[in-house]
């Protein structure tokens, strides 16, 4: 259960960051997700990124919707305020929070159901408005809490656990984010800590809407033969699956690969994911090129990861709205309420 607190004591020689804090200071409550869930690796990456970035945890706000992924903000940064809102509506709540106080860091965590279906509209408009936040989708192609329905990011060819066919094509959220004008778009893999942590650090340092689509396999409902969001699908065909819906190991999933090559990464449980590191000469500022890159590799059954698009010159919401420097929530009566004299003038104008 999410109320299970982790013990606070830690080894006296744990490394400290510039704020004199350990990684433990950035952790949250004990996760209640399935053992081996990719999402826990994403939470760990957020902890690592915030630790390494020396962020004061109380200056971070954690926003989420509903679903397995949206539960995770309880599992990191316990000293931050969090808001677990309604299904698919995190973008609007984050937008409002951002307008009230732009001096905090906002980390939004959502899932593929939360973002690509019920909240697709709100996602699109948060991107369009360039809300200054890190928006992470923990993408597993399935609805976990309601026990394994297809989500809108599940590939057309991907079948359900009982062999059900998926009639509809997938929404590629990274491609959508690029098309909608997000100024920072990346895709990563929950097992690839070495890639994910630097991406998160970059995203948290980015001003504007930073989007990371993290492929984060659902070990319970979408890790079977025939699923393209399973490790097995992208595994090298030389290897055999040892078990469907079975989690043999509980260690953190990690990958390591060389730049510029397509590689099948062997994971701790003998599953694999095919990853493509960005090609040499890839132009990060080319929207159309990024889309073409994603689509052409997708056609080959490959998942493109890494930083896909960056527009460091784009302004964010607060600038677009031409707001004062001080956070709106810091303004008091003196700054906000005109006096009776101003009101008398308005009255006079209405006579």
């Amino acid at each position: 259960m999410t109320y299970i607190a982790k013990p606070k004591f830690h080894h006296p020689k744990l490394p400290l960051n510039d704020l004199g804090l350990t990684r433990r200071d950035y952790e949250g409550a004990m996760s209640t997700l399935c053992a081996g869930c990719g999402h826990d690796s994403v939470s760990a990456a957020i902890v690592e990124a915030c630790f390494e970035l020396n962020l004061p945890a109380h200056r971070v706000a954690k926003m989420s919707g509903i679903g397995c992924s949206s539960k995770t903000p309880t599992y990191f940064l316990s000293k931050s305020h969090g808001f677990n809102s309604v299904h698919g509506r995190m973008p609007s709540v984050a937008t409002g929070a951002n307008l009230a106080n732009n001096s905090l860091k906002y980390i939004g965590v959502s899932g593929d159901g939360d973002t690509a279906s019920i909240g697709f509209g709100q996602f699109a408009h948060a991107v369009r408005r360039q809300v200054d936040m890190l928006y992470v989708v923990e993408n597993n192609g399935t609805y976990g809490l309601t026990k394994g329905q297809f989500s809108a990011t599940n590939d057309r060819v991907s079948v359900g656990r009982k062999g059900q066919k998926n009639a509809f094509g997938a929404i590629d959220l990274a491609a959508m984010a690029i098309q909608l004008g997000a100024s920072f778009v990346a895709r990563s893999f929950s097992g690839d800590k070495d890639q994910l942590v630097p991406l998160m650090k970059a995203a948290l340092s980015h001003k504007g809407f930073a989007f990371i689509d993290v492929i984060s396999p659902c070990v319970t409902f979408n890790n079977h033969i025939g699923s393209t969001k399973s490790f097995e699908f992208v595994r090298d065909h030389e290897h055999t699956v040892t078990g469907v819906d079975y989690v043999p190991h509980r260690e953190t999933i990690t990958v390591d690969y060389e730049e510029g090559s397509v590689i099948d990464v062997t994971l701790h449980d003998q599953t694999r994911v095919r990853l493509r590191k960005l090609d040499t000469g890839y132009d990060l500022s080319d929207q159309a090129g990024a889309l073409q890159h994603i689509m052409s590799h997708q056609a080959k059954g490959e998942v493109v990861t890494g930083l896909l698009y960056l527009d460091a010159g784009e302004t964010e919401l607060k600038e677009k709205m031409d707001m004062v420097a001080a956070p709106l929530n810091s303004l008091g009566v003196a700054e906000l309420r005109p006096g009776m004299a101003a009101l008398e003038k308005i009255n006079a104008g209405l006579r």
Partner: protein, 608 residues
Amino acid sequence: MGVNDFVIKFANVNGSGSASANALFAKAIFRMGVPVAPKNIFPSNIQGLPTWFEVRVNDKGYLGRREGIDMMVAMNPQSWDRDVAEVVPGGYLLYDSTFIREIQRDDIKTIGVPLTKMCNERFTIPRERQLFKNVAYVGALTALLDMDFEVVKGMLSEQFRGKDKLIAPNVDALELGRNYALKYFDCPLDIQVVTSDAVGDRILVEGNAAAGLGCVFAGATVAAWYPITPSTSVAEAFEKYCHQLRIEPETGKKKFAIVQAEDELAAIGMAIGANWNGARAFTATSGPGISLMSEFLGLAYFAELPLLLFNIQRGGPSTGMPTRTQQSDIIACAYASHGDTKHVLLFPSDPTECFDFAVQGFDLAERLQTPVIVMSDLDLGMNEWTTKPFTIDETMGFDRGKVLNAEQLDEVERFGRYLDVDGDGIPYRTYPGTHPEKGAFFTRGTSHDEYAGYTEDGTVNARVMLRLSHKFNTAKTLVPAPEFGQKTQGATMGLIHFGTTAVSVPEAMGMLADSQIHLDTMRLRGFPFSQEVDDFILSHDKVFVVEQNRDGQMRSLLVNECGLDPARLVPILNFDGSPITARTIANMVSEHCGQAVADRSASGVAAE
């Protein structure tokens, strides 16, 4: 029908430029010191369909809508027959005599002015010819009704200040109509406007403009909204007044943020996010938007987040009558959302209260940490009302409620977001980013304990739900108290009303008094109902509940919340989309009492 007491109606074609001429006419009467109630009766359409503008002029201050038209300015051939039929016997029909019209009635007086012909002769640009017809009939009316011509002329100069070239042709058109009327008719008629001081220091303003202005004075900094008639002008007014009053002089930057959201769900989500983060934020909508916002309202109720929401009610259900008025969202708002939810409602009766309830509404929402819904309607929101001037108490700050800052958190041993420390059911909150070590919590709509921790323990959940009930009881003592009328007469029957129904009640009481029917009245201003509401009902044998919906929603709410025998409450209902009239109220009450209201001709309704 008479001096400073009549109803005039303009029948126009939507999009023909009549609105500004008609508004000019109404404002001129107001400027002459005579109370007016102009009402737009408009279609859900941009151009071409019939639209009406009805102005009640009454120096006794009876400004509710009144049946019977004393003078019809019939400019629309599409609606000609029904417009002519609406004129009371002995009333007047002003029409464009350029065209031959068949007038089937011989009990009304006709005034034909060749508006099209005159304007075509005088003006060359086609658009001017069209627009100035409207100004010309106002000109004719100044003569027919003996209005102060200098006032009207002065208003044109004001209206076109900065576009001075337009003043002369407008005055020209005005004089064109005026001179024709003076030449061909026996001016003035028996209905007239005589300069008076009955307006006093009152102002003429729309409820939505007042609400938007109230939000500025309440310190609202974030507004998120989605366009929907009839609420759109709340956000527009907020924006207009913010541009006047909330620009940082040194930088020219905005001390506000207004977002036109992608839908009502996003609008309320943004307002909730901003309030959660310590900025005063609001949204405005109408019935369909309320339906869309319901899930979020439940979240705000359960997670205990302040929010001010304006519901400018229109005709329902579904898309209903988007441009007509009703009070038919009472139940939908009182209990909006799934699960056990209840919301604080405020019922403004005039624009002054729209302003005041915006200011008080934020204080209430933050004090109670819950959504507060201001239940206005189209009639109040989109029409100009003669109303008391706006005031604020400069000695009072904003009541931000129970919010702990960093120093206060240092004093607290263990912060519990949902702990009832003071016994009033209202816990303490913290804004994100306040303290490095203390006060952080996770806001969620799922069941939680007193320390905001997730729990599925039913006992804990029940405890939280009961505390929320207790908080709602506290709200009874904080919402605006009801107002009472004729309390001293000790009548055995009472009448409850609220919102825009109030404007017709004094006149209805006068009519009923003439028939020896005496009632005590109570105007509800807030929900949950305070003890005074129960007491009023229980101290009368029978209580009428007047409302503008089909099902007697306020009556149901009273029966339910006060635990009353339904037989005590008699519904008086109007739900045709037009504002309820005094005569409707009086007729239905007297019918119930088995008595006829003292007979007066429709045109002479004004009570003594």
